[in-house]
Symmetry: C3
Subunit: 220 residues, 3 copies
Protein backbone atom coordinates (compact mmCIF):
# COMPACT_ATOMS: atom_id res chain seq x y z
CA UNK A 1 0.00 0.00 0.00
CA UNK A 2 2.88 2.30 0.80
CA UNK A 3 4.38 1.32 -2.50
CA UNK A 4 1.16 2.12 -4.31
CA UNK A 5 0.90 5.42 -2.51
CA UNK A 6 4.44 6.28 -3.47
CA UNK A 7 3.84 5.50 -7.10
CA UNK A 8 0.70 7.61 -6.92
CA UNK A 9 2.75 10.35 -5.38
CA UNK A 10 5.13 10.51 -8.29
CA UNK A 11 2.57 9.52 -10.87
CA UNK A 12 0.32 12.40 -9.87
CA UNK A 13 2.01 14.63 -12.40
CA UNK A 14 4.29 12.39 -14.47
CA UNK A 15 5.12 15.06 -17.00
CA UNK A 16 6.44 17.31 -14.23
CA UNK A 17 8.64 14.56 -12.86
CA UNK A 18 9.90 13.61 -16.30
CA UNK A 19 10.55 17.26 -17.11
CA UNK A 20 12.56 17.85 -13.97
CA UNK A 21 14.34 14.51 -14.29
CA UNK A 22 15.41 15.30 -17.83
CA UNK A 23 16.34 18.80 -16.68
CA UNK A 24 18.50 17.36 -13.91
CA UNK A 25 20.35 15.07 -16.33
CA UNK A 26 20.63 17.93 -18.80
CA UNK A 27 22.12 20.37 -16.31
CA UNK A 28 24.60 17.92 -14.84
CA UNK A 29 25.57 17.02 -18.41
CA UNK A 30 26.15 20.72 -19.16
CA UNK A 31 28.55 20.85 -16.23
CA UNK A 32 30.35 17.81 -17.62
CA UNK A 33 30.62 19.34 -21.07
CA UNK A 34 32.03 22.56 -19.64
CA UNK A 35 34.63 20.61 -17.66
CA UNK A 36 35.65 18.90 -20.91
CA UNK A 37 35.95 22.24 -22.70
CA UNK A 38 38.14 23.55 -19.88
CA UNK A 39 40.40 20.54 -20.39
CA UNK A 40 40.51 21.16 -24.17
CA UNK A 41 39.00 17.75 -24.99
CA UNK A 42 37.71 17.26 -28.55
CA UNK A 43 34.06 16.80 -29.47
CA UNK A 44 34.06 13.13 -28.48
CA UNK A 45 35.54 13.98 -25.09
CA UNK A 46 32.93 16.69 -24.57
CA UNK A 47 30.10 14.29 -25.37
CA UNK A 48 31.52 11.47 -23.25
CA UNK A 49 32.07 13.70 -20.24
CA UNK A 50 28.60 15.26 -20.60
CA UNK A 51 26.97 11.84 -20.69
CA UNK A 52 29.09 10.55 -17.79
CA UNK A 53 28.24 13.55 -15.61
CA UNK A 54 24.54 13.50 -16.49
CA UNK A 55 23.98 9.78 -16.09
CA UNK A 56 26.75 8.74 -13.66
CA UNK A 57 24.78 9.28 -10.46
CA UNK A 58 21.78 7.30 -11.67
CA UNK A 59 23.93 4.45 -12.96
CA UNK A 60 25.74 4.22 -9.61
CA UNK A 61 22.36 4.19 -7.83
CA UNK A 62 20.93 1.44 -10.00
CA UNK A 63 24.03 -0.76 -9.72
CA UNK A 64 23.95 -0.43 -5.92
CA UNK A 65 20.27 -1.38 -5.64
CA UNK A 66 20.48 -4.10 -8.29
CA UNK A 67 18.25 -2.37 -10.85
CA UNK A 68 20.23 -3.45 -13.90
CA UNK A 69 20.61 -2.50 -16.63
CA UNK A 70 20.58 1.02 -15.15
CA UNK A 71 18.10 3.46 -16.68
CA UNK A 72 21.11 5.59 -17.57
CA UNK A 73 22.04 3.05 -20.24
CA UNK A 74 18.51 1.97 -21.16
CA UNK A 75 16.22 5.03 -21.31
CA UNK A 76 16.73 6.87 -24.59
CA UNK A 77 15.20 10.06 -23.20
CA UNK A 78 17.82 10.40 -20.49
CA UNK A 79 20.61 9.54 -22.92
CA UNK A 80 19.26 12.06 -25.43
CA UNK A 81 19.07 14.80 -22.82
CA UNK A 82 22.67 14.17 -21.79
CA UNK A 83 23.92 14.02 -25.38
CA UNK A 84 22.01 17.18 -26.30
CA UNK A 85 23.69 18.99 -23.42
CA UNK A 86 27.06 17.81 -24.74
CA UNK A 87 26.33 19.09 -28.25
CA UNK A 88 25.09 22.43 -26.92
CA UNK A 89 28.17 22.82 -24.77
CA UNK A 90 30.44 22.06 -27.70
CA UNK A 91 28.71 24.55 -30.00
CA UNK A 92 27.87 27.36 -27.65
CA UNK A 93 30.29 27.11 -24.73
CA UNK A 94 31.69 30.63 -25.13
CA UNK A 95 28.26 31.95 -24.19
CA UNK A 96 27.68 29.63 -21.25
CA UNK A 97 29.51 31.68 -18.60
CA UNK A 98 26.95 34.43 -19.22
CA UNK A 99 24.26 32.13 -17.93
CA UNK A 100 26.34 30.89 -15.02
CA UNK A 101 23.72 31.83 -12.46
CA UNK A 102 21.05 29.92 -14.39
CA UNK A 103 23.30 26.89 -14.41
CA UNK A 104 23.92 27.15 -10.68
CA UNK A 105 20.19 27.41 -10.10
CA UNK A 106 19.42 24.42 -12.32
CA UNK A 107 22.28 22.45 -10.77
CA UNK A 108 20.68 23.02 -7.36
CA UNK A 109 17.37 21.85 -8.80
CA UNK A 110 19.07 18.73 -10.14
CA UNK A 111 20.68 18.08 -6.76
CA UNK A 112 17.30 18.28 -5.04
CA UNK A 113 15.45 16.14 -7.51
CA UNK A 114 18.11 13.45 -7.72
CA UNK A 115 18.45 13.25 -3.93
CA UNK A 116 14.70 12.68 -3.55
CA UNK A 117 14.30 10.49 -6.63
CA UNK A 118 17.24 8.29 -5.57
CA UNK A 119 15.83 7.89 -2.07
CA UNK A 120 12.37 7.15 -3.45
CA UNK A 121 13.60 4.54 -5.93
CA UNK A 122 15.56 2.70 -3.24
CA UNK A 123 12.62 2.74 -0.81
CA UNK A 124 10.29 1.41 -3.51
CA UNK A 125 12.71 -1.49 -4.05
CA UNK A 126 12.38 -2.35 -0.37
CA UNK A 127 15.62 -1.11 1.13
CA UNK A 128 15.81 0.25 4.66
CA UNK A 129 15.54 3.98 5.21
CA UNK A 130 19.27 4.19 5.94
CA UNK A 131 20.20 2.52 2.67
CA UNK A 132 17.76 4.74 0.80
CA UNK A 133 19.37 7.88 2.22
CA UNK A 134 22.86 6.75 1.25
CA UNK A 135 21.68 5.79 -2.23
CA UNK A 136 19.82 9.10 -2.61
CA UNK A 137 22.86 11.16 -1.69
CA UNK A 138 25.09 9.09 -3.97
CA UNK A 139 22.63 9.65 -6.82
CA UNK A 140 22.77 13.40 -6.24
CA UNK A 141 26.55 13.76 -6.00
CA UNK A 142 27.76 10.72 -7.99
CA UNK A 143 27.62 12.27 -11.45
CA UNK A 144 29.78 15.16 -10.35
CA UNK A 145 32.39 12.83 -8.87
CA UNK A 146 32.59 10.82 -12.10
CA UNK A 147 32.86 14.05 -14.09
CA UNK A 148 35.71 15.39 -11.97
CA UNK A 149 37.67 12.12 -11.88
CA UNK A 150 37.50 11.77 -15.68
CA UNK A 151 38.47 15.41 -16.15
CA UNK A 152 41.46 14.98 -13.86
CA UNK A 153 40.15 17.47 -11.30
CA UNK A 154 39.66 16.94 -7.56
CA UNK A 155 35.99 16.08 -6.85
CA UNK A 156 34.21 19.38 -6.26
CA UNK A 157 31.95 17.81 -3.63
CA UNK A 158 35.11 17.23 -1.58
CA UNK A 159 37.03 20.44 -2.21
CA UNK A 160 34.43 23.15 -2.58
CA UNK A 161 33.59 24.90 0.63
CA UNK A 162 29.96 25.86 -0.01
CA UNK A 163 27.55 23.23 1.25
CA UNK A 164 26.77 20.70 -1.48
CA UNK A 165 26.44 17.24 0.03
CA UNK A 166 24.69 18.54 3.16
CA UNK A 167 21.55 19.84 1.39
CA UNK A 168 21.27 16.47 -0.37
CA UNK A 169 21.63 14.65 2.96
CA UNK A 170 18.97 16.83 4.59
CA UNK A 171 16.54 16.25 1.73
CA UNK A 172 17.12 12.50 1.63
CA UNK A 173 16.86 12.08 5.42
CA UNK A 174 13.68 14.13 5.56
CA UNK A 175 12.06 12.19 2.75
CA UNK A 176 13.05 8.77 4.11
CA UNK A 177 11.88 9.72 7.62
CA UNK A 178 8.46 10.79 6.42
CA UNK A 179 8.15 7.70 4.24
CA UNK A 180 9.06 5.48 7.20
CA UNK A 181 6.34 7.24 9.22
CA UNK A 182 3.84 6.34 6.52
CA UNK A 183 3.62 9.88 5.20
CA UNK A 184 3.66 9.69 1.42
CA UNK A 185 2.13 12.32 -0.79
CA UNK A 186 3.05 14.48 -3.77
CA UNK A 187 3.24 17.44 -1.41
CA UNK A 188 5.93 15.72 0.64
CA UNK A 189 7.87 14.59 -2.43
CA UNK A 190 8.05 18.06 -3.89
CA UNK A 191 8.49 19.65 -0.50
CA UNK A 192 11.69 17.67 0.01
CA UNK A 193 12.97 18.74 -3.40
CA UNK A 194 12.25 22.37 -2.55
CA UNK A 195 13.88 21.95 0.86
CA UNK A 196 17.09 20.62 -0.68
CA UNK A 197 17.22 23.31 -3.34
CA UNK A 198 16.52 26.06 -0.83
CA UNK A 199 19.30 24.99 1.52
CA UNK A 200 21.73 24.77 -1.37
CA UNK A 201 20.85 28.22 -2.68
CA UNK A 202 20.88 29.78 0.78
CA UNK A 203 24.33 28.29 1.37
CA UNK A 204 25.54 29.89 -1.85
CA UNK A 205 23.84 33.25 -1.23
CA UNK A 206 24.83 33.55 2.43
CA UNK A 207 28.23 31.95 1.87
CA UNK A 208 27.70 29.22 4.45
CA UNK A 209 30.81 27.13 4.88
CA UNK A 210 31.51 23.81 6.46
CA UNK A 211 34.35 24.05 8.96
CA UNK A 212 37.81 22.95 7.83
CA UNK A 213 40.18 20.92 9.98
CA UNK A 214 42.53 22.87 12.23
CA UNK A 215 46.05 23.02 10.89
CA UNK A 216 48.32 20.45 12.45
CA UNK A 217 50.38 21.99 15.24
CA UNK A 218 54.02 21.06 15.28
CA UNK A 219 55.04 19.58 18.57
CA UNK A 220 51.54 20.51 19.91
CA UNK B 1 15.05 -18.15 -32.25
CA UNK B 2 17.12 -15.04 -32.65
CA UNK B 3 18.92 -15.98 -29.49
CA UNK B 4 19.67 -19.42 -30.82
CA UNK B 5 20.83 -17.97 -34.09
CA UNK B 6 23.11 -15.59 -32.27
CA UNK B 7 24.67 -18.33 -30.23
CA UNK B 8 25.15 -20.31 -33.41
CA UNK B 9 26.75 -17.26 -34.93
CA UNK B 10 29.41 -17.06 -32.29
CA UNK B 11 29.58 -20.77 -31.69
CA UNK B 12 30.37 -21.39 -35.35
CA UNK B 13 34.07 -21.10 -34.65
CA UNK B 14 34.47 -20.96 -30.90
CA UNK B 15 38.21 -21.29 -30.98
CA UNK B 16 38.48 -18.21 -33.19
CA UNK B 17 36.31 -16.20 -30.84
CA UNK B 18 38.22 -17.41 -27.81
CA UNK B 19 41.53 -16.68 -29.49
CA UNK B 20 40.57 -13.14 -30.38
CA UNK B 21 38.93 -12.58 -27.00
CA UNK B 22 42.07 -13.65 -25.19
CA UNK B 23 44.11 -11.56 -27.61
CA UNK B 24 41.99 -8.52 -26.81
CA UNK B 25 42.45 -8.96 -23.08
CA UNK B 26 46.15 -9.62 -23.64
CA UNK B 27 46.74 -6.50 -25.70
CA UNK B 28 44.81 -4.18 -23.43
CA UNK B 29 46.74 -5.71 -20.52
CA UNK B 30 50.02 -4.96 -22.34
CA UNK B 31 48.97 -1.32 -22.58
CA UNK B 32 48.23 -1.33 -18.84
CA UNK B 33 51.59 -2.86 -18.03
CA UNK B 34 53.39 -0.27 -20.14
CA UNK B 35 51.53 2.55 -18.40
CA UNK B 36 52.68 1.10 -15.07
CA UNK B 37 56.29 0.95 -16.26
CA UNK B 38 56.07 4.59 -17.35
CA UNK B 39 54.93 5.46 -13.82
CA UNK B 40 57.81 3.44 -12.29
CA UNK B 41 55.46 1.09 -10.41
CA UNK B 42 56.98 -2.10 -9.03
CA UNK B 43 56.17 -5.60 -10.26
CA UNK B 44 52.92 -5.75 -8.28
CA UNK B 45 51.81 -2.43 -9.72
CA UNK B 46 52.63 -3.61 -13.23
CA UNK B 47 50.59 -6.78 -12.76
CA UNK B 48 47.66 -4.99 -11.14
CA UNK B 49 47.49 -2.34 -13.83
CA UNK B 50 47.81 -4.96 -16.59
CA UNK B 51 44.93 -6.97 -15.14
CA UNK B 52 42.81 -3.86 -14.55
CA UNK B 53 43.30 -2.65 -18.12
CA UNK B 54 42.71 -6.07 -19.66
CA UNK B 55 39.64 -7.01 -17.66
CA UNK B 56 38.17 -3.63 -16.66
CA UNK B 57 35.96 -3.19 -19.70
CA UNK B 58 34.42 -6.64 -19.40
CA UNK B 59 33.85 -6.28 -15.65
CA UNK B 60 32.08 -2.94 -16.17
CA UNK B 61 29.93 -4.55 -18.88
CA UNK B 62 28.93 -7.50 -16.73
CA UNK B 63 28.11 -5.35 -13.70
CA UNK B 64 25.91 -3.10 -15.85
CA UNK B 65 23.95 -6.00 -17.34
CA UNK B 66 23.78 -7.95 -14.08
CA UNK B 67 25.96 -10.87 -15.22
CA UNK B 68 27.71 -11.32 -11.88
CA UNK B 69 30.24 -12.44 -10.96
CA UNK B 70 31.80 -10.89 -14.08
CA UNK B 71 33.76 -13.24 -16.33
CA UNK B 72 36.75 -10.99 -15.65
CA UNK B 73 36.91 -12.34 -12.11
CA UNK B 74 35.67 -15.86 -12.84
CA UNK B 75 37.26 -17.12 -16.08
CA UNK B 76 40.81 -18.28 -15.41
CA UNK B 77 41.73 -18.04 -19.09
CA UNK B 78 41.03 -14.32 -19.24
CA UNK B 79 42.81 -13.74 -15.94
CA UNK B 80 45.80 -15.76 -17.13
CA UNK B 81 46.03 -13.83 -20.37
CA UNK B 82 46.00 -10.53 -18.50
CA UNK B 83 48.55 -11.69 -15.93
CA UNK B 84 50.81 -13.09 -18.64
CA UNK B 85 50.78 -9.73 -20.39
CA UNK B 86 51.78 -8.09 -17.11
CA UNK B 87 54.71 -10.48 -16.62
CA UNK B 88 55.86 -10.01 -20.20
CA UNK B 89 55.69 -6.24 -19.87
CA UNK B 90 57.69 -6.36 -16.66
CA UNK B 91 60.41 -8.56 -18.13
CA UNK B 92 60.65 -7.26 -21.66
CA UNK B 93 59.35 -3.69 -21.63
CA UNK B 94 62.53 -2.16 -23.05
CA UNK B 95 61.83 -4.06 -26.25
CA UNK B 96 58.14 -3.25 -26.49
CA UNK B 97 58.49 0.15 -28.19
CA UNK B 98 60.05 -1.70 -31.12
CA UNK B 99 56.78 -3.47 -31.66
CA UNK B 100 54.69 -0.36 -31.14
CA UNK B 101 52.94 -0.73 -34.48
CA UNK B 102 52.01 -4.33 -33.68
CA UNK B 103 50.55 -3.15 -30.40
CA UNK B 104 48.55 -0.41 -32.08
CA UNK B 105 47.24 -2.94 -34.58
CA UNK B 106 46.30 -5.44 -31.89
CA UNK B 107 44.77 -2.69 -29.78
CA UNK B 108 42.53 -1.80 -32.71
CA UNK B 109 41.63 -5.48 -33.01
CA UNK B 110 40.76 -5.53 -29.31
CA UNK B 111 38.63 -2.44 -29.69
CA UNK B 112 36.67 -4.03 -32.53
CA UNK B 113 36.17 -7.36 -30.85
CA UNK B 114 35.16 -5.94 -27.48
CA UNK B 115 32.73 -3.49 -29.08
CA UNK B 116 30.96 -6.31 -30.93
CA UNK B 117 31.25 -8.87 -28.12
CA UNK B 118 29.88 -6.39 -25.57
CA UNK B 119 26.95 -5.51 -27.81
CA UNK B 120 26.27 -9.18 -28.51
CA UNK B 121 26.36 -10.21 -24.86
CA UNK B 122 23.92 -7.45 -23.89
CA UNK B 123 21.53 -8.31 -26.72
CA UNK B 124 21.61 -12.00 -25.76
CA UNK B 125 20.61 -11.01 -22.22
CA UNK B 126 17.55 -9.29 -23.65
CA UNK B 127 18.45 -5.60 -23.45
CA UNK B 128 17.22 -3.10 -26.02
CA UNK B 129 19.46 -2.23 -28.95
CA UNK B 130 20.24 1.16 -27.41
CA UNK B 131 21.42 -0.37 -24.16
CA UNK B 132 23.45 -2.94 -26.06
CA UNK B 133 25.27 -0.22 -27.99
CA UNK B 134 26.11 1.73 -24.84
CA UNK B 135 27.29 -1.43 -23.12
CA UNK B 136 29.33 -2.46 -26.17
CA UNK B 137 31.12 0.87 -26.37
CA UNK B 138 31.77 0.87 -22.61
CA UNK B 139 33.24 -2.63 -22.92
CA UNK B 140 35.58 -1.43 -25.65
CA UNK B 141 36.81 1.74 -23.96
CA UNK B 142 36.27 0.92 -20.26
CA UNK B 143 39.52 -0.94 -19.67
CA UNK B 144 41.55 1.98 -20.98
CA UNK B 145 39.72 4.44 -18.72
CA UNK B 146 40.40 2.28 -15.65
CA UNK B 147 44.06 1.98 -16.69
CA UNK B 148 44.50 5.73 -17.10
CA UNK B 149 42.70 6.65 -13.86
CA UNK B 150 44.82 4.21 -11.83
CA UNK B 151 48.01 5.42 -13.52
CA UNK B 152 47.11 9.03 -12.74
CA UNK B 153 46.89 10.00 -16.41
CA UNK B 154 43.98 11.73 -18.16
CA UNK B 155 41.82 9.11 -19.93
CA UNK B 156 43.26 8.73 -23.43
CA UNK B 157 39.79 8.19 -24.92
CA UNK B 158 39.00 11.75 -23.81
CA UNK B 159 42.26 13.53 -24.58
CA UNK B 160 43.67 11.83 -27.65
CA UNK B 161 42.61 13.41 -30.87
CA UNK B 162 42.64 10.38 -33.18
CA UNK B 163 39.25 8.70 -33.36
CA UNK B 164 38.95 5.97 -30.75
CA UNK B 165 35.43 5.93 -29.34
CA UNK B 166 33.85 6.65 -32.73
CA UNK B 167 34.97 3.40 -34.43
CA UNK B 168 33.59 1.47 -31.45
CA UNK B 169 30.29 3.35 -31.69
CA UNK B 170 30.02 2.66 -35.43
CA UNK B 171 30.69 -1.05 -34.92
CA UNK B 172 28.25 -1.39 -32.04
CA UNK B 173 25.47 0.55 -33.79
CA UNK B 174 25.89 -1.45 -36.99
CA UNK B 175 25.81 -4.77 -35.16
CA UNK B 176 22.80 -3.87 -33.00
CA UNK B 177 20.90 -2.53 -36.03
CA UNK B 178 21.43 -5.71 -38.02
CA UNK B 179 20.51 -7.86 -35.02
CA UNK B 180 17.32 -5.84 -34.51
CA UNK B 181 16.50 -6.42 -38.16
CA UNK B 182 16.81 -10.14 -37.59
CA UNK B 183 20.10 -10.40 -39.42
CA UNK B 184 22.37 -12.64 -37.40
CA UNK B 185 25.21 -14.61 -38.89
CA UNK B 186 28.90 -15.21 -38.37
CA UNK B 187 29.57 -13.09 -41.45
CA UNK B 188 27.84 -10.12 -39.84
CA UNK B 189 29.56 -10.61 -36.49
CA UNK B 190 33.02 -10.66 -38.00
CA UNK B 191 32.11 -7.97 -40.51
CA UNK B 192 31.35 -5.56 -37.69
CA UNK B 193 34.65 -6.36 -36.02
CA UNK B 194 36.49 -5.70 -39.27
CA UNK B 195 34.49 -2.48 -39.81
CA UNK B 196 35.49 -1.15 -36.38
CA UNK B 197 39.14 -2.09 -36.81
CA UNK B 198 39.30 -0.59 -40.29
CA UNK B 199 37.86 2.76 -39.22
CA UNK B 200 40.27 2.91 -36.28
CA UNK B 201 43.29 2.12 -38.45
CA UNK B 202 42.22 4.51 -41.20
CA UNK B 203 41.81 7.26 -38.59
CA UNK B 204 45.36 6.62 -37.41
CA UNK B 205 46.86 6.34 -40.91
CA UNK B 206 45.03 9.34 -42.38
CA UNK B 207 45.27 11.33 -39.15
CA UNK B 208 41.54 11.90 -38.89
CA UNK B 209 40.72 14.18 -36.01
CA UNK B 210 37.54 15.00 -34.17
CA UNK B 211 36.98 18.76 -34.02
CA UNK B 212 37.93 20.58 -30.81
CA UNK B 213 35.83 23.28 -29.21
CA UNK B 214 36.49 26.84 -30.33
CA UNK B 215 38.48 28.83 -27.81
CA UNK B 216 36.32 30.99 -25.57
CA UNK B 217 36.23 34.57 -26.86
CA UNK B 218 36.67 37.25 -24.24
CA UNK B 219 33.84 39.72 -24.29
CA UNK B 220 32.56 37.94 -27.44
CA UNK C 1 27.41 -29.03 4.57
CA UNK C 2 30.52 -27.08 3.76
CA UNK C 3 28.40 -23.98 3.78
CA UNK C 4 27.04 -24.84 7.19
CA UNK C 5 30.50 -25.54 8.47
CA UNK C 6 31.70 -22.21 7.19
CA UNK C 7 28.91 -20.33 8.87
CA UNK C 8 29.69 -22.20 12.05
CA UNK C 9 33.28 -21.23 11.63
CA UNK C 10 32.50 -17.54 11.60
CA UNK C 11 29.56 -17.83 13.93
CA UNK C 12 31.71 -19.47 16.56
CA UNK C 13 32.57 -16.10 18.05
CA UNK C 14 30.40 -13.54 16.31
CA UNK C 15 31.33 -10.72 18.60
CA UNK C 16 35.00 -11.20 17.75
CA UNK C 17 34.28 -11.14 14.03
CA UNK C 18 32.03 -8.12 14.37
CA UNK C 19 34.61 -6.37 16.50
CA UNK C 20 37.40 -6.95 14.01
CA UNK C 21 35.15 -6.16 11.06
CA UNK C 22 34.15 -2.85 12.58
CA UNK C 23 37.78 -2.25 13.47
CA UNK C 24 38.82 -2.87 9.87
CA UNK C 25 36.24 -0.41 8.56
CA UNK C 26 37.22 2.04 11.29
CA UNK C 27 40.93 1.91 10.53
CA UNK C 28 40.57 2.20 6.77
CA UNK C 29 38.19 5.11 7.41
CA UNK C 30 40.83 6.76 9.61
CA UNK C 31 43.28 6.53 6.70
CA UNK C 32 40.67 8.13 4.44
CA UNK C 33 40.04 10.95 6.90
CA UNK C 34 43.77 11.63 7.20
CA UNK C 35 44.11 11.77 3.40
CA UNK C 36 41.28 14.34 3.36
CA UNK C 37 43.01 16.43 6.04
CA UNK C 38 46.23 16.36 4.02
CA UNK C 39 44.27 17.71 1.04
CA UNK C 40 42.70 20.45 3.24
CA UNK C 41 39.15 19.23 2.57
CA UNK C 42 36.43 20.60 4.87
CA UNK C 43 34.48 18.53 7.40
CA UNK C 44 32.16 17.12 4.73
CA UNK C 45 35.11 16.09 2.61
CA UNK C 46 36.75 14.42 5.60
CA UNK C 47 33.60 12.47 6.39
CA UNK C 48 32.97 11.48 2.76
CA UNK C 49 36.52 10.29 2.22
CA UNK C 50 36.53 8.40 5.54
CA UNK C 51 33.32 6.60 4.60
CA UNK C 52 34.52 5.90 1.05
CA UNK C 53 37.81 4.43 2.28
CA UNK C 54 36.19 2.36 5.04
CA UNK C 55 33.34 0.96 3.01
CA UNK C 56 34.65 1.09 -0.57
CA UNK C 57 36.26 -2.35 -0.58
CA UNK C 58 33.16 -4.08 0.76
CA UNK C 59 30.86 -2.25 -1.66
CA UNK C 60 33.05 -3.28 -4.60
CA UNK C 61 32.99 -6.88 -3.36
CA UNK C 62 29.23 -7.00 -2.99
CA UNK C 63 28.58 -5.42 -6.39
CA UNK C 64 30.90 -7.97 -8.04
CA UNK C 65 29.21 -10.95 -6.41
CA UNK C 66 25.70 -9.56 -6.81
CA UNK C 67 24.99 -9.11 -3.10
CA UNK C 68 23.06 -5.86 -3.49
CA UNK C 69 22.43 -3.56 -1.81
CA UNK C 70 25.99 -3.87 -0.45
CA UNK C 71 26.32 -4.12 3.33
CA UNK C 72 28.39 -0.94 3.10
CA UNK C 73 25.21 1.01 2.35
CA UNK C 74 22.80 -1.11 4.40
CA UNK C 75 24.44 -2.02 7.73
CA UNK C 76 24.23 0.93 10.13
CA UNK C 77 27.02 -0.45 12.31
CA UNK C 78 29.58 -0.34 9.49
CA UNK C 79 28.40 3.10 8.42
CA UNK C 80 28.59 4.33 12.00
CA UNK C 81 32.11 3.00 12.44
CA UNK C 82 33.25 4.74 9.27
CA UNK C 83 31.53 8.02 10.16
CA UNK C 84 32.93 7.90 13.69
CA UNK C 85 36.43 7.53 12.26
CA UNK C 86 35.79 10.57 10.09
CA UNK C 87 34.65 12.67 13.05
CA UNK C 88 37.60 11.57 15.15
CA UNK C 89 40.03 12.38 12.36
CA UNK C 90 38.48 15.81 11.93
CA UNK C 91 38.66 16.64 15.62
CA UNK C 92 41.90 15.01 16.66
CA UNK C 93 44.04 14.74 13.53
CA UNK C 94 46.98 16.72 14.96
CA UNK C 95 47.47 13.90 17.44
CA UNK C 96 47.13 11.04 14.98
CA UNK C 97 50.73 11.01 13.73
CA UNK C 98 51.75 10.12 17.29
CA UNK C 99 49.87 6.88 16.96
CA UNK C 100 51.12 6.18 13.45
CA UNK C 101 52.46 2.79 14.38
CA UNK C 102 49.13 1.79 15.90
CA UNK C 103 47.44 2.81 12.68
CA UNK C 104 49.87 0.79 10.59
CA UNK C 105 49.27 -2.20 12.83
CA UNK C 106 45.50 -1.85 12.64
CA UNK C 107 45.65 -1.26 8.89
CA UNK C 108 47.50 -4.58 8.55
CA UNK C 109 44.79 -6.19 10.69
CA UNK C 110 42.14 -4.70 8.42
CA UNK C 111 43.95 -5.98 5.36
CA UNK C 112 44.06 -9.51 6.77
CA UNK C 113 40.46 -9.59 7.92
CA UNK C 114 39.04 -8.11 4.73
CA UNK C 115 41.06 -10.47 2.54
CA UNK C 116 39.73 -13.49 4.41
CA UNK C 117 36.20 -12.12 4.90
CA UNK C 118 35.93 -11.22 1.20
CA UNK C 119 37.12 -14.65 0.13
CA UNK C 120 34.75 -16.33 2.60
CA UNK C 121 31.71 -14.31 1.51
CA UNK C 122 32.33 -15.11 -2.16
CA UNK C 123 32.82 -18.82 -1.48
CA UNK C 124 29.61 -18.92 0.56
CA UNK C 125 27.77 -17.43 -2.40
CA UNK C 126 28.99 -20.32 -4.53
CA UNK C 127 31.76 -18.78 -6.62
CA UNK C 128 34.79 -20.74 -7.70
CA UNK C 129 37.95 -20.54 -5.60
CA UNK C 130 39.61 -18.35 -8.23
CA UNK C 131 36.79 -15.82 -8.18
CA UNK C 132 36.79 -15.86 -4.39
CA UNK C 133 40.50 -15.03 -4.28
CA UNK C 134 40.12 -12.12 -6.70
CA UNK C 135 37.12 -10.82 -4.77
CA UNK C 136 38.94 -11.21 -1.45
CA UNK C 137 41.96 -9.26 -2.63
CA UNK C 138 39.76 -6.55 -4.15
CA UNK C 139 37.91 -6.27 -0.83
CA UNK C 140 41.20 -5.81 1.00
CA UNK C 141 42.74 -3.21 -1.31
CA UNK C 142 39.62 -1.61 -2.88
CA UNK C 143 38.91 0.91 -0.16
CA UNK C 144 42.42 2.30 -0.38
CA UNK C 145 42.19 2.69 -4.15
CA UNK C 146 38.88 4.60 -3.85
CA UNK C 147 40.42 6.79 -1.13
CA UNK C 148 43.47 7.64 -3.21
CA UNK C 149 41.53 8.33 -6.42
CA UNK C 150 39.14 10.69 -4.63
CA UNK C 151 42.02 12.43 -2.87
CA UNK C 152 43.83 12.92 -6.16
CA UNK C 153 46.79 10.78 -5.13
CA UNK C 154 48.27 7.83 -7.02
CA UNK C 155 46.90 4.56 -5.54
CA UNK C 156 49.28 3.56 -2.77
CA UNK C 157 48.81 -0.14 -3.56
CA UNK C 158 50.43 0.61 -6.94
CA UNK C 159 53.16 3.06 -5.95
CA UNK C 160 54.30 2.00 -2.52
CA UNK C 161 57.17 -0.38 -2.55
CA UNK C 162 56.50 -2.33 0.66
CA UNK C 163 54.42 -5.44 0.01
CA UNK C 164 50.71 -4.67 0.38
CA UNK C 165 48.73 -6.63 -2.21
CA UNK C 166 50.93 -9.71 -1.86
CA UNK C 167 50.05 -10.50 1.78
CA UNK C 168 46.37 -10.20 0.85
CA UNK C 169 46.87 -12.55 -2.11
CA UNK C 170 48.68 -15.09 0.07
CA UNK C 171 45.94 -15.00 2.70
CA UNK C 172 43.12 -15.30 0.16
CA UNK C 173 44.79 -18.12 -1.78
CA UNK C 174 45.53 -20.07 1.39
CA UNK C 175 41.99 -19.71 2.67
CA UNK C 176 40.35 -20.62 -0.64
CA UNK C 177 42.68 -23.62 -1.08
CA UNK C 178 41.84 -25.02 2.34
CA UNK C 179 38.12 -24.40 1.79
CA UNK C 180 38.30 -26.22 -1.57
CA UNK C 181 39.97 -29.12 0.22
CA UNK C 182 37.04 -29.26 2.62
CA UNK C 183 39.01 -27.81 5.49
CA UNK C 184 36.81 -25.29 7.24
CA UNK C 185 37.21 -24.33 10.85
CA UNK C 186 37.54 -21.25 13.03
CA UNK C 187 41.20 -22.09 13.47
CA UNK C 188 41.77 -21.91 9.73
CA UNK C 189 39.80 -18.71 9.34
CA UNK C 190 41.75 -16.90 12.01
CA UNK C 191 44.99 -18.54 10.95
CA UNK C 192 44.67 -17.01 7.49
CA UNK C 193 44.01 -13.59 9.00
CA UNK C 194 47.11 -13.93 11.16
CA UNK C 195 49.14 -15.16 8.18
CA UNK C 196 48.20 -12.11 6.11
CA UNK C 197 48.89 -9.68 8.94
CA UNK C 198 52.22 -11.31 9.76
CA UNK C 199 53.49 -11.13 6.18
CA UNK C 200 52.45 -7.50 5.93
CA UNK C 201 54.16 -6.56 9.19
CA UNK C 202 57.30 -8.54 8.36
CA UNK C 203 57.48 -6.78 4.99
CA UNK C 204 57.33 -3.43 6.76
CA UNK C 205 59.79 -4.36 9.51
CA UNK C 206 62.31 -6.06 7.24
CA UNK C 207 61.76 -3.58 4.42
CA UNK C 208 60.91 -6.27 1.86
CA UNK C 209 60.41 -4.76 -1.56
CA UNK C 210 58.90 -5.99 -4.77
CA UNK C 211 61.32 -5.59 -7.69
CA UNK C 212 60.86 -2.59 -9.99
CA UNK C 213 61.13 -2.77 -13.77
CA UNK C 214 64.56 -2.22 -15.25
CA UNK C 215 64.99 1.23 -16.75
CA UNK C 216 64.46 1.29 -20.51
CA UNK C 217 67.77 1.22 -22.35
CA UNK C 218 68.12 3.68 -25.18
CA UNK C 219 68.97 2.00 -28.43
CA UNK C 220 69.23 -1.29 -26.42
Amino acid sequence: MLLTAAIDATAAAPWVLLTLDLLGVFVFALSGGLAAVRQRFDVVGVLVLAVAAGLGGGILRDVLIGAVPPVGVSDWRLLSAAAAAGVITFLFHPRLPRIAWSITLLDALGLGLFAVAGTLKALELGTTALTAVIVGVLTAVGGGVVRDLLAGEPPSVLVQRELYAIPAIVGAVTYASLWSAGLVSPFITWGCVVLTVTIRLLALRLNWRAPAPRPAIDGG
